[in-house]
Every structure is written in structure tokens, then in C-alpha cells.
């Protein structure tokens, strides 16, 4: 048997989580920082493994690679089967990349409060925070790797628990009295996602009663060779069951309202974890499961979902403009971006889907860059209200500059990663649904509006009272931001390597769905390009 690379990639953070939680409680600041190094080391080791997996992945090779299979619950045809296609491997890599940054950025977010007498509160809260992050990472990674519907479902649901504690237990300590709000947000997050998950559970069960297996490859093969066929009513119902869960997670309008609460109350690092990593499982699952398992229903519902996506795009952007709270603003911006991702997925064109896959990566990196810098700012000032800031660029130019770059990525400035994916999504949509494509394109104006309004209000103008003491970025923070910005540039200028990994998988998905790209109206007499 070959080395179980995928299992190890997922298991490593899990082991790290357990180890971190089991470390002896810190007795002083030094030992606390030592306790943080362990999880960081694990996340970096996971990153190395993810890189190895990406390197060992052969684009254009078999659909699922690095596969592993063990029987798990044979009674229900459930296997522990892992495998990655191009999209999955890229998302695993994204997760592995982002987690160390999130940890580094949240370095002091979970530090216990030192009381007035300066006595050190001796508990495991800090290491618990990092252990939970690792647990989330492990579950997200295995969700990306799972090629068994049940296996996926289990971790799709289970990751709610550590996320729930991360949101509810470590929220924004800058607003001490608002613990109620925080636990409301955590509960809302959990209930929304749990409801989605339970509806999906019904569909998962329904799928099993028809297919008698949970193995993705077997089901898709059976669907293709006709040995398995869903009656349309059943297929539609199952599709909706799956889609509901993913649309809550992604989140798609009108199921999005948990996100602003959750991101608003969580620490910036956790907010990044939610939007950049965990929510990606939702959009990824649409691509992986909705389309592959229910091709006909996907086609049936695509127009409706596209309309919802476009509403998400515009609605998210408009609400972002109206926010008074930085993190909520970012949350609504994310809703808008998820609209783009889902738009790309359900346009059912290769450009749209490749764009969506790239968008997941780019959105992850760009939101991380933007929100983490915003988090640095908020941690300095202890407020997340936009109105409390002003003129920061004067006192902290590097912070302001990086914040602007992050924002420019968010508004999809060409040359930075998100532009590539956003344009692909729009082109892909436009090909098939020109009207929707045009309306969605209007979203780019609104994106500019909320990004620049936020920048203007916080960074420009005369230095607002209370902001004089805002310090510029520290070395640790620069270490977080600089690589993220570098990644955004690379993704914007030379996305080809990732596109090459993603494209074959997208094509395979589309052929499963049975959709091909519309041909150009005028057959090109000269032959493509130069």
C-alpha cells in the first residue's frame, strides 16, 4: 500500500489539535507562547504535506488521484474513501496555506486577560483556541478530500462544533459586555448550519435508498452508464436537499443572515477562517456533489440558483455599503463574492466553473489579507465601528497601504488574483445568460463603492481623535500580510499553473452534467489568438 498522503494531511492537524489541547497549561507569557508554537508547527507541517500532494497531483490524469479506500460502515455502503481532483487539491492547499496565517494573525487574540494586579490567569483557553483552529483545519481538509458522500457529510457537520466554540468562546473581546451578542451569533451559526445539515441528511438518506452506496465514483459511473437513474421528482428533491445545506454554508441569499453575525462577533482570524476556509466547503460541495450526483436537476434549477446568486451579489454589496461595523461590512462583501462563486458554478460553462474554482482560492487569500489587516487595526483601537476611525494612513501608512491593497483585491482590480476569477465567472455566465452576466457585472461598481468608502472613512482625512496612538504594523503582522499580498499578485499575474490543475476537473464535471460551452457565434476564420 502506498503512503496515505491524504489521510496524513488531514490527520496531522487533528493530531496537532489533540496534542495542543493536552499541553500543560501555561504558567506565564513565555510558556504560553511556547504552547502556541506547537499548533503553528503542525499547521506548517500540514502545509508542507499539502504542497507535496499538489506536486504529486498530475493535472489531466485520472479524475481522482492519491485515492485511498477503507471500508468503514459496510452496512450502509459507507467507505472511508479519499481522493482529490484538481479543484480539491487546490482547495486543500488553500486551507493549508491560510491556517498558519490565521494563527499568526490571531497570536494574541485568545490570550487570557491579565487582571489589575498583573496575575497571570492560568488556564488552557489560549491553547484551546489554537487546538480548535487545527480541528477545523483537519475537518475542512478531509471534507475536501472525501469522495464518499457520507464521509463528507460527517465532517461537513462535525466541523460546526469547533467553529461554534471558536465563534462563541473567543469572540471579539474588545466588546466585553456583548457576550450575549456573541453567543447569539454562535447559536445562530450553529442552528442555521445544523438545519441545513439535517435537511441534507434527509437527502443523503434518500440518495442511499436509491443508489445503495455512498461512493461518489460508483454513483457517477452508474449514472453515466444508465444503471442508475433517478426519477425527476426524486432527483429534484435530493438536489434541493443537498443544495439547501450548501447554500446555507456558502451562504447564498436569502440564507445568509448568519454570516454577518458570526463574522461580526468572531475575532478577525476566526472570521477569516469562517469565510475563507469553512464556507468554501459549501461552494466546493455544490461543484462536487450537486452537479455530479444530480446532473439533470442541476440543469433544471440552474436558472433559479443563478438568479439568487445575482441577488446575492448585489444585495451583499449594497448591504456592505450600509454597514457601520467593519467586520460586518466584510461579511456582506463575502456574501457578494459567494454570489459570484455560485454564479460561476451554475452557469455550467468551463469558464464559469474554472473561474469559480479560482475564485474560491482568490477570495480566500484576498479576504484574509483584507480582514486580517482590518483585524490588526481593530485590535489596536479596540473598536470595530467604522466611525471610530479616521486618518489612520497618516499615523500608520504601511497598515493603510496593505489595507488598501487588500481592498483593491476585494474589488477585483486587474493584476490581483480576484480579477482573473471574477472575470472568468462573468464571461462564463455571460456566455449562456447574457442578461444575468450584465447585471452581475454591475456588482463590480458596488464592490468599488464599499471598499473605497471603508478605506476613505477609516484611513483618510484628518487623524480622528483616539487614532493618534495607532501603531504601524509589527514584524509579526507584516509576516502575515506580505506573503498574502505576494500571493494575490502571483495569482493575478500568473494564474496559469492553478488554472491548469483546475481545468481538467472542471471539464470532467461538465461532461458529467452534460453541458458544453456555447460556441462563438461567428466561427473564427483566422484561428484563435495570435
Amino acid at each position: 500500500m502506498s503512503f496515505p498522503l491524504l489521510t496524513v494531511t488531514a490527520a496531522l492537524p487533528a493530531v496537532g489539535a489533540i496534542l495542543t489541547a493536552a499541553l500543560p497549561a501555561a504558567t506565564d507569557t513565555r510558556s504560553r507562547d511556547r504552547n502556541k508554537v506547537v499548533p503553528l508547527a503542525f499547521s506548517l507541517a500540514t502545509l508542507v504535506l499539502a504542497c507535496v500532494a499538489t506536486a504529486r497531483f498530475t493535472p489531466g490524469g485520472p479524475r481522482f488521484q492519491l485515492t485511498e479506500y477503507h471500508s468503514w460502515i459496510s452496512q450502509f455502503g459507507i467507505g472511508y474513501s479519499l481522493g482529490v481532483d484538481g479543484i480539491a487539491v487546490v482547495l486543500v492547499l488553500l486551507t493549508a496555506v491560510l491556517v498558519p496565517f490565521v494563527m499568526l494573525a490571531s497570536w494574541h487574540d485568545a490570550d487570557p486577560v491579565v487582571d489589575d494586579r498583573g496575575t497571570f490567569e492560568r488556564n488552557r483557553r489560549t491553547q484551546g483556541f489554537f487546538a480548535l483552529i487545527l480541528a477545523v483545519e483537519a475537518m475542512v481538509v478531509i471534507s475536501f478530500e472525501a469522495t464518499d458522500v457520507f464521509l463528507f457529510y460527517v465532517f461537513f457537520e462535525a466541523m460546526l462544533i469547533p467553529m461554534y466554540f471558536l465563534i462563541g468562546g473567543f469572540g471579539d473581546r474588545t466588546k466585553g459586555e456583548d457576550a450575549k451578542q456573541r453567543s447569539y451569533a454562535a447559536v445562530k451559526f450553529l442552528l442555521y448550519n445544523l438545519l441545513g445539515g439535517l435537511v441534507m441528511l434527509a437527502a443523503v438518506i434518500g440518495l442511499y435508498t436509491r443508489a445503495h452506496t455512498f461512493d461518489l465514483v460508483s454513483i457517477t459511473t452508474a449514472l453515466q452508464n444508465g444503471s442508475l437513474h433517478f426519477p425527476p421528482v426524486v432527483e429534484n428533491a435530493l438536489f434541493l436537499g443537498f443544495m439547501f445545506a450548501f447554500a446555507v454554508k456558502a451562504p447564498l441569499w436569502p440564507l445568509h443572515t448568519w454570516l454577518p453575525n458570526a463574522m461580526g462577533e468572531a475575532t478577525a482570524g476566526v472570521a477569516v477562517l469562517i469565510t475563507a476556509v469553512v464556507d468554501k466547503v459549501g461552494t466546493y460541495a455544490m461543484l462536487r456533489f450537486c452537479l455530479n450526483l444530480f446532473p439533470e436537476a442541476s440543469k433544471t434549477f440552474a436558472p433559479a440558483i443563478l438568479v439568487l446568486s445575482v441577488i446575492s451579489i448585489l444585495y451583499g454589496a449594497l448591504l456592505a455599503v450600509g454597514q457601520k461595523d467593519i467586520k460586518r461590512l466584510v461579511a456582506y462583501a463575502s456574501i457578494s463574492h459567494f454570489g459570484f462563486i455560485i454564479l460561476g458554478i451554475f452557469a455550467l460553462t468551463s469558464q464559469g466553473q474554472s473561474g469559480a474554482a479560482l475564485y474560491m482560492v482568490n477570495h480566500g487569500v484576498s479576504t484574509a489579507a483584507w480582514l486580517l489587516v482590518a483585524g490588526f487595526l481593530m485590535s489596536r483601537r479596540g473598536s470595530r465601528l467604522i466611525a471610530d476611525y479616521g486618518g489612520v494612513q497618516k499615523v500608520a501608512p504601511v497598515l493603510a497601504g496593505t489595507f488598501l491593497v487588500g481592498g483593491l483585491a476585494i474589488l477585483s482590480l486587474p493584476g490581483l488574483g480576484p480579477f482573473v476569477s471574477e472575470f472568468l465567472v462573468l464571461v462564463g455566465t455571460f456566455e449562456r445568460y447574457p442578461a444575468l452576466g450584465i447585471v452581475a457585472t454591475a456588482g463590480i461598481v458596488l464592490a468599488a463603492l464599499y471598499v473605497l468608502v471603508l478605506y476613505q472613512r477609516t484611513m483618510t482625512g484628518p487623524v480622528k481623535a483616539g487614532n493618534e496612538g495607532v501603531k504601524d504594523l509589527k514584524a509579526r503582522e507584516l509576516v502575515v500580510v506580505a506573503p498574502l499580498i505576494a500571493m494575490l499578485l502571483v495569482l493575478g499575474i500568473y494564474p496559469k499553473p492553478i488554472a491548469d490543475i483546475v481545468n481538467p476537473s472542471v471539464n470532467q464535471t461538465l461532461s458529467q452534467v452534460g453541458r458544453t460551452d456555447p460556441a462563438p457565434h461567428v466561427v473564427n476564420a483566422i484561428g484563435g489568438g495570435q
Binding site: E157, L160, A202
Partner: protein, 542 residues
């Protein structure tokens, strides 16, 4: 006048043939109970505690060993047959459920024996959670005397053994009479156990009264149902009833007469159902559950919640799967309604509960509904799923109630939810374990609760009960709300200054909790073996 001719027509009653080996698990437990009573009479008071525990555990261990032996010897499969003249079925489901019940009972006995939680009596003797003298009036001098002299109601152990014996018999009962007797045998000791709480004796007695009266009421229905079915089929043997229902029996004139009247059969079945649904706590026969769960001593509640449910569902399964599959068209829709009502009402009423024991009671109601969806499937998958669910659920329940015994203040257990605020900060490990149990109740993946729920819903869906699954899923969502509310309370609320303390238990309760947690995780992460076991066991003999 006709008496003489009748007497002549009746053949002599043959001496019954008893398969002692097959019955040995029950005999072991009943034997332990009898020995326990003798011990109560002859063993000096100061040795009784240890002796009784020893006897009980020995009986249970022997019983479990015998069950294992029978199962391995093939009685769960090829050798499965009726014993004791068709009164007791020794087959897969019996042995599986008996195994679960004995294990549950072991854990329950451990909790009964816990003596480190209550403050010591004035003589310095450690005391358990039972009244020092059940007959003494609460607050009276007699009670105080009993308390100071360090009396203990060691009768609980033989009582428990009787209850366990009845429970072992209940799911194995293959005729209605045995079932009725088993029902009473395990119910009567439970009524008494409920009344024996050391603290809050008024509540405890009230629980016992309610449980007893309603229990007797429901037994009457069961008996009436028994009579009607007997009237219809001319027999109380489940297999014979099935044959009559399906029209395979040799038709005597009398039988031809009674089987002409389906009302006998249908009303009889409904009445039998009332008796069993009462025991499983299905709506609208659930109303005793919250009061009794709240009032009974918590270790008893845990035992009752876990073991009664297992036994009662076992009997219900046998009744429906063995005797009445022929008229499934009649009872399934009704059971659908009961299941839906149970799931929805249990979940919704639980939302506003403020006492942790009542909360768990309503949660058990909701779970009864979930299990019913598996019962309705009426196939092997459904049977296997229910068996698995019962095993998984009983250990979670035991663990959860064991945790409840640990959270205490000056008045004993602090069961009001507001007292639990911030428990996660004060005692993270305990809160984490309780959270694990709650998550299992809520059916979060990687816990046994999820696997069980998945199994029963899958079976229900497989038998075409899609609507049930959807209702089940939605009420799970509602149910999740109140489980999460408790978690929020424990972890995200600020601890109260006068909050309860978490008692450090002895190894007895510790074992119970740890076992609950381990089983919960094991059946969640690697359920394959147990599912296999449950599926293997899922064939009734008739």
C-alpha cells in the same frame, strides 16, 4: 351444564418443558434478586452495602456471560428458538437487548452504589442517594434517627435485580401473558425505586404515585388488549396470533366466529399499544415522563430512562414484527401519527424547559419518536437500526444523568438550568463530557446519536416513509436548539457567584460517565462492528 362436557373435551395439561440454559440469563438475575432479599434478612447492616453490590454485580455479570455464551453458541442465529413452551423467545433481538440491558444495569448499579456525592452522615458513614428509611415520613424524627444512625436502603439492589429480570424477560416474551407479567415485574420495583430519593422526598413520592397510578392504568389497558386479542385469536402466543391473523391457522368453529370480528383484533392491538407506548414514553402517553424523571433519584432516572426504553421497545418490536405484521396496513398509519406527534411534541415542549432532568425527559420523548420511525419500517433494516439506536441511546442517557448527579449545591443536585451557567469555565472537563452527550442527543456526526439517527431514518426512508424522515429531520433541528442552549449556558455564560459545585465522584460514577463517553464516541466513529451485530441480531423467531 356444559361444564362437564367441556372438561371432558380438554386434554390434560402436559408438564411444561423448560430450557433452563436458554433462560439462564434471566434466572441468574432473578436468582441474584432472591439472594439479595435473603441477604437483606440475614446479613448484618454494616455489611449489607458491600454484600448487596457484590450479589447484584455477580448476578449481572453471570447473566451477561450467559448471554454472550448463548449468542456465541448460535442462539442469536441458527439455534434461535422458543423456550419454555413458547413463552420466551431466545433469538437475536432478545439476546442483543438483554446484553444491552445487563450492561446498562451494571452501570446503573455502579451509580446506585455511589456514596461520595452526599455529605457524610453525622456518624461519618458515607451515604448514597437513597432515603435512609423509605417508610419514614419525610422530616420526621424517625427519618432523622435513620439518617444519624447511618441506615441505608440496601433493598434497592434486590429491587433493581427484579426490575432487570423483568426487563430481560420483556423483550424476550413470546406470548402476551409472559409479556404482561414481565411488564409488571419490572414496573413494580421501579415504582418503589422512584420513591426512595434521599433529598426532595416529596417530589420523589409524588413521582412514585404518579408513575404507579399511571403505570397501573396503562397495564390495565394492556391487559384488556391482551384479552381482546386472545378473544380474537384464541391464543396469546405471538406466533399463533400471527398465524391466525394471516389466516394460516387451522380454523375451528370458535375461531371462525371470533375472527369474523376484526374489531376485537384492532381494538386489542390498540390497547396493547397503549400499554407499550406508555412505557416507551410516546405522545400522548408520555405525560408521566417529565414528572417521574424529575422526581426520582437521579441514578434511578438514568437507569429507568435507559433500560425501560430498551426493554419496552424490544417488546413493542416483537409484538408488531412477530404477531401483527399481517395487519401492518392498519397499524402503521396510526403509528406514523404517534411517531410524528412524539417527535414534534417532545422537541417543541423541551425548548422552554428550565430543569435539566425535565429537559432530558422531554428529550427522551423526542427520541422515542425517532426510534418509532425505525419501528415503522417493519423490515430487517428497521429492526437492526432500532436495536442499534437503543444501545447507543441508553449509554448516552446513562452518562448524561450521571453527570447531572455531580452538579450539586447545598440542597443536593442543582438541576435548574440557570444554575448550570458557566459550568464550562469552572469545570471544563465535565462540561465537555456533558456537551458530548448533548451533541449525541442532537445527532451530530461522529457521535453515536448520529449513527443511530441515520440508521433509523435510513430504514424509514427505505420503507417509503419519506414524510416521517422529513418530520424527523425538522424536529431534530428544533431539538438541536435546546441541546445547544444548554451548551451555550455552560460555556458562554458567566458563572454565578453562588453557583453549584461539581462534586468529585468516586470511581463508580466516574466509570459510568467514562463508559458513556467512550461508547458514545466509539459508536459514532467506528460503528461498523456494532451495526453488524445489530443487523445480525435482527431476526425474530416466531
Amino acid at each position: 351444564m356444559t361444564g362437564m362436557t367441556l372438561a371432558a373435551a380438554i386434554p390434560p395439561i402436559p408438564a411444561p418443558h423448560i430450557e433452563y440454559l436458554q433462560l439462564s440469563p434471566m434466572l441468574a438475575v432473578f436468582g441474584a434478586a432472591l439472594v439479595g432479599i435473603l441477604a437483606e434478612a440475614f446479613v448484618p447492616r454494616r455489611h449489607r452495602y458491600a454484600t448487596q453490590i457484590g450479589i447484584a454485580l455477580a448476578g449481572l455479570a453471570a447473566s451477561f456471560g450467559l448471554i454472550l455464551y448463548l449468542a456465541l453458541d448460535g442462539y442469536a442465529g441458527s439455534k434461535a428458538d422458543l423456550a419454555a413452551m413458547g413463552a420466551v423467545a431466545v433469538d437475536g433481538p432478545s439476546l442483543f437487548l438483554q446484553g444491552v440491558i445487563t450492561l446498562v444495569a451494571v452501570v446503573a448499579v455502579l451509580q446506585f452504589a455511589e456514596r461520595r456525592l452526599e455529605p457524610r452522615s453525622s456518624t461519618g458513614a458515607p451515604v448514597d442517594s437513597f432515603a435512609p428509611e423509605g417508610a419514614a415520613v419525610p422530616g420526621s424524627d424517625a427519618e432523622k434517627r435513620a439518617a444519624t444512625s447511618g441506615h441505608a436502603t440496601t433493598e434497592v439492589y434486590p429491587l433493581t435485580m427484579f426490575a432487570v429480570g423483568g426487563m430481560l424477560l420483556f423483550p424476550a416474551a413470546s406470548d402476551l401473558l409472559t409479556m404482561f407479567v414481565a411488564l409488571e415485574v419490572f414496573s413494580l420495583p421501579l415504582y418503589l425505586l422512584c420513591a426512595l430519593a434521599r433529598r426532595r422526598r416529596l417530589l420523589s413520592q409524588e413521582a412514585a404515585v404518579k408513575y404507579f397510578l399511571l403505570g397501573a392504568f396503562s397495564s390495565a389497558f394492556f391487559l384488556f388488549g391482551l384479552a381482546l386479542v386472545y378473544g380474537y385469536a384464541g391464543s396469546v402466543q405471538l406466533g399463533q396470533i400471527a398465524r391466525v391473523v394471516e389466516g394460516q391457522a387451522t380454523v375451528t368453529p370458535a375461531l371462525a366466529n371470533t375472527t369474523g370480528n376484526d374489531a376485537l383484533l384492532l381494538i386489542g392491538l390498540a390497547m396493547l399499544g397503549v400499554g407499550l407506548l406508555f412505557k416507551v414514553g410516546a405522545v400522548p402517553f408520555h405525560m408521566w415522563t417529565p414528572d417521574v424523571y424529575q422526581g426520582a433519584p437521579t441514578p434511578v432516572t438514568g437507569f429507568m430512562a435507559a433500560a425501560t426504553k430498551v426493554a419496552a421497545f424490544g417488546a413493542l418490536l416483537r409484538l408488531l414484527y412477530v404477531a401483527f405484521p399481517g395487519i401492518a396496513w392498519d397499524w402503521r398509519p396510526v403509528l406514523w401519527g404517534v411517531a410524528i406527534l412524539t417527535m414534534v411534541a417532545g422537541a417543541i415542549i423541551a425548548v422552554t424547559q428550565t430543569d435539566v432532568k425535565r429537559l432530558l425527559a422531554y428529550s427522551s420523548v423526542a427520541h422515542a419518536g425517532f426510534i418509532l420511525t425505525g419501528v415503522i419500517a417493519l423490515d430487517r433494516a428497521g429492526l437492526g437500526a432500532v436495536l442499534f439506536y437503543l444501545a447507543a441511546y441508553s449509554f448516552v442517557t446513562l452518562g448524561a444523568f450521571a453527570v447531572v448527579t455531580l452538579v450539586r449545591d447545598a440542597d443536593g443536585e442543582a438541576t435548574h438550568l440557570s444554575r448550570w451557567a458557566g459550568l464550562g469555565r469552572r469545570s471544563p472537563l465535565l462540561a465537555a463530557v456533558f456537551a458530548l452527550f448533548l451533541l449525541a442527543f442532537a445527532g451530530i456526526p461522529l457521535t453515536s446519536g448520529f449513527t443511530g439517527k441515520f440508521a433509523v431514518f435510513q430504514a424509514a426512508a427505505g420503507s417509503g416513509a419519506t414524510a416521517l424522515v422529513i418530520v424527523g429531520v425538522l424536529s431534530s433541528a428544533v431539538a438541536a436548539f435546546f441541546y445547544i442552549r444548554v451548551i451555550v449556558l455552560m460555556f458562554f455564560s458567566d458563572p454565578r457567584a453562588d453557583g453549584p459545585t461539581v462534586a468529585v465522584p468516586s470511581a463508580l460514577t466516574g466509570t459510568a460517565i467514562a463508559l458513556g463517553a467512550v461508547v458514545t464516541v466509539a459508536l459514532g466513529v467506528a460503528p461498523e462492528y456494532f451495526l453488524h451485530l445489530a443487523n445480525q441480531a435482527s431476526l425474530f423467531v416466531r
